[in-house]
Subunit: 307 residues, 2 copies
C-alpha cells in the first residue's frame, strides 16, 4: 500500500502545491485505489501519476469545504470519459448528494457507471473481508470526519523449522497448512494447521483526518495507527489563529499522534502563507513532540509496510 498526496495546500492552490486530496494505492495489486478528499485540480494531479481513474473504487470526503470537494464533479465525469464502468462508492457528510446531483444536473453530465453516494454518520462506513473503514466526527467549523482504514489481520507465518523437525515434507502440504487446512501424513499422523501457524499478523491501519482542531475523537480514531495523516494548517506561533479557524498547528498534530500511539505522522494542509521552503520549519516543530513526522510532499509515494 502506498499513500500519495495529490494536494497539500489549505484553502487554495499556490504555485507548486494543490488543494487537498490523498490517494491510497490498495494492496490487491490490480491498480485499484481509494481517495480521500478531492479539491479542484485533483484529476489534473492524477495525470502526473500512474493512477488510472477507471481503477478508483472508493472516495471518502472528510468535509464539504470547497478546497476538499470542488474537484469532485470534474473527476467523476472524467472517470466516465476515460472508460470507467465499475461502480464507485462516494462517502461523505450530508450535503454531498445535493452538491453532486445539482452539479451533474445543471451541467448535463451523465456517468457511464453507477455512482453510489453514501451520506455518512459516525461509525463503520464500509467493511469487507480485507478492510473496514470507520468514521468519527472531529472538531471543525463545519461537520468534519476522520477515517480509520483497518486492514484485516493476515494469517501468521508457517513454522517451517518445526515442520522440518516433525519430518513433514515441503511442497503442497505446506500450502494446505498455510491456508488453514489440517493434513494427514502417509504415516497416519495428523498435522493441525493451528499447531504450525503463528499468531495472525495485524493488518495495517491508516487514519486520514479532515480539518480539525485538537480533539479527543481524533486521538481515539488514530489509536495505534501505522500512519496518521493530520492537518497542520499553521505553525504554533499562530495557535490562536488556528483555534479561531478550528484548525491545528503542526505541534498540535504531533501531540495527537503521540497521544494516539501512532507509528508515523504525515502533516499536510499547509496554509498558503507557507512556501515550499517553509515546510521544514513546520516539520521540525512537529518532530519536537513526535519524531516520526514528515511534512507531506506531493506526488511521491509513502509506502505503508506490512506489519
Amino acid at each position: 500500500m502506498e499513500l500519495w498526496f495529490l494536494g497539500t495546500s489549505a484553502g487554495m492552490p499556490i504555485s507548486g502545491r494543490n488543494v487537498t486530496s490523498v490517494a491510497l494505492r490498495m494492496p490487491q495489486n490490480r491498480g485499484t485505489f481509494w481517495m480521500f478528499d478531492c479539491g479542484e485540480g485533483t484529476q489534473h494531479q492524477l495525470l502526473r501519476t500512474s493512477f488510472k481513474l477507471s481503477r478508483l473504487e472508493k472516495l471518502f470526503i472528510t468535509h464539504l469545504h470547497g478546497d476538499h470537494v470542488f474537484g469532485l464533479p470534474g473527476l467523476l465525469s472524467s472517470r466516465s470519459s476515460l472508460g470507467g464502468t465499475e461502480p464507485l462508492d462516494l462517502h461523505g457528510p450530508q450535503g454531498l448528494r445535493e452538491f453532486m446531483e445539482t452539479s451533474f444536473r445543471i451541467s448535463g453530465t451523465h456517468l457511464n457507471y453507477p455512482l453510489q453516494i453514501h451520506e455518512i454518520v459516525e461509525g463503520k462506513v464500509f467493511e469487507d473481508e480485507a478492510f473496514s473503514v470507520e468514521a468519527a466526527k472531529l472538531d471543525h467549523r463545519i461537520e468534519s470526519f476522520g477515517y480509520r482504514i483497518a486492514e484485516s489481520p493476515r494469517a501468521g507465518a508457517l513454522n517451517t523449522a518445526l515442520l522440518a523437525d516433525m519430518g513433514v515434507p515441503s511442497g503442497p502440504l505446506y500450502g494446505k497448512l498455510k491456508s488453514g487446512e489440517d493434513v494427514s501424513l502417509e504415516d497416519g499422523r495428523i498435522i493441525r494447521s493451528s499447531d504450525v501457524i503463528g499468531n495472525p499478523l495485524p493488518g495495517r491501519v491508516i487514519v486520514v483526518l479532515g480539518d480539525t482542531k485538537p480533539c479527543a475523537s481524533a486521538i481515539q480514531l488514530a489509536r495505534g495507527a501505522d500512519l496518521l495523516v493530520h492537518e497542520a494548517t499553521f505553525s504554533h506561533d499562530l495557535a490562536i489563529k488556528a483555534d479561531d479557524y478550528t484548525h491545528s498547528t503542526a505541534l498540535q498534530a504531533a501531540e495527537t499522534a503521540q497521544a494516539a500511539g501512532a507509528k508515523r505522522l504525515l502533516i499536510t494542509h499547509f496554509s498558503s502563507r507557507y512556501k515550499p521552503e517553509d515546510l521544514s520549519g513546520l516539520e521540525a516543530e512537529a518532530r519536537s513532540a513526535f519524531p516520526y513526522t514528515d511534512a507531506a510532499i506531493e506526488l511521491r509515494p509513502y509506502e505503508i509496510p506490512l506489519n
Copy 2:
C-alpha cells in the same frame, strides 16, 4: 488588449492542455481582465500568468457543460481569499445561479465581494462607454451562447498637416481640438474641431463562441470581427461525429470565419484525442478555407491591435 487561452482541451484535461477558459486583458491598463468560461483548474492556470484574480471584472459563461464551468466555485472563492473586494459580474445561461448558490451553500463559502449573477437571454448583456457585449444563441446539445465584445469607436486622428497649413500653432490648442472643442485663434479665426479631425476609428470586435455546430447565428454574431474564437473539436474526417455531438470541425470553424468576414480566427476546444503535435493538422485544415487561422496555444498572449 490581449487574449490568453487558459485551456484548449474539450471535455477533460490532458497532459499539457487544460479545459476551456479564455482571459481577455482589457485596454484600460489597470491590470483588469474579463474571462470567458471557467473549466476546472482555471485558477491554477492563472497562477502561471501575470493576471491577478482581484482584477477580474467580468466573467461570461457560454454554456453549462462541466468542462466550461466546474472551475467557477473555486476561482470565485480564491478571488475572495486573494483580496478581491470589487464587485464581479457573472453572465451565463439559466441554471448558473442554482449551480453557484448550491456550491457556495453546501461548501459554506462566503465571498468578500458582491457577486452579481446575470442569467442571460439573447441580445445586449452589457454596455458602458467603452464596450458593449452582445450574446447570441448557437446550436449545441444544451443552450450555448456566443459573445460579441465590441469596443466603442475612438476619435479620429487630428489632421496636423492641415493645421500647419492653416498656421495653427501646435500646443494646447491641438489638445482642445482633439478632444472635440472648437478654438478661436488670436487673429479671430475659429477652427472647428470637426474640420480637422478624421472620421472616428472603429473599435475592436472580439467574438468568443461557445460549443456549437455550424449555424447562421454564429456567422451573424462574428460579422467583421477582428478576432473570432471558435471551437474545433474534431478534424473534418470526423464531421459525422462532430454533427452527432453538435460540435464543429476545424474546417467548419474556418468556413464560419470566412462567411462572417472575420479578420482572424483562433481555433480551440480540441478533443483529447489530439495531442499537442496533432494540432498543426487541424490548423492546416482550417487554413485551407480561411488562411488567417491559428490553433490556440495556452498561456501565451494573442494581441488584438488597434484599428
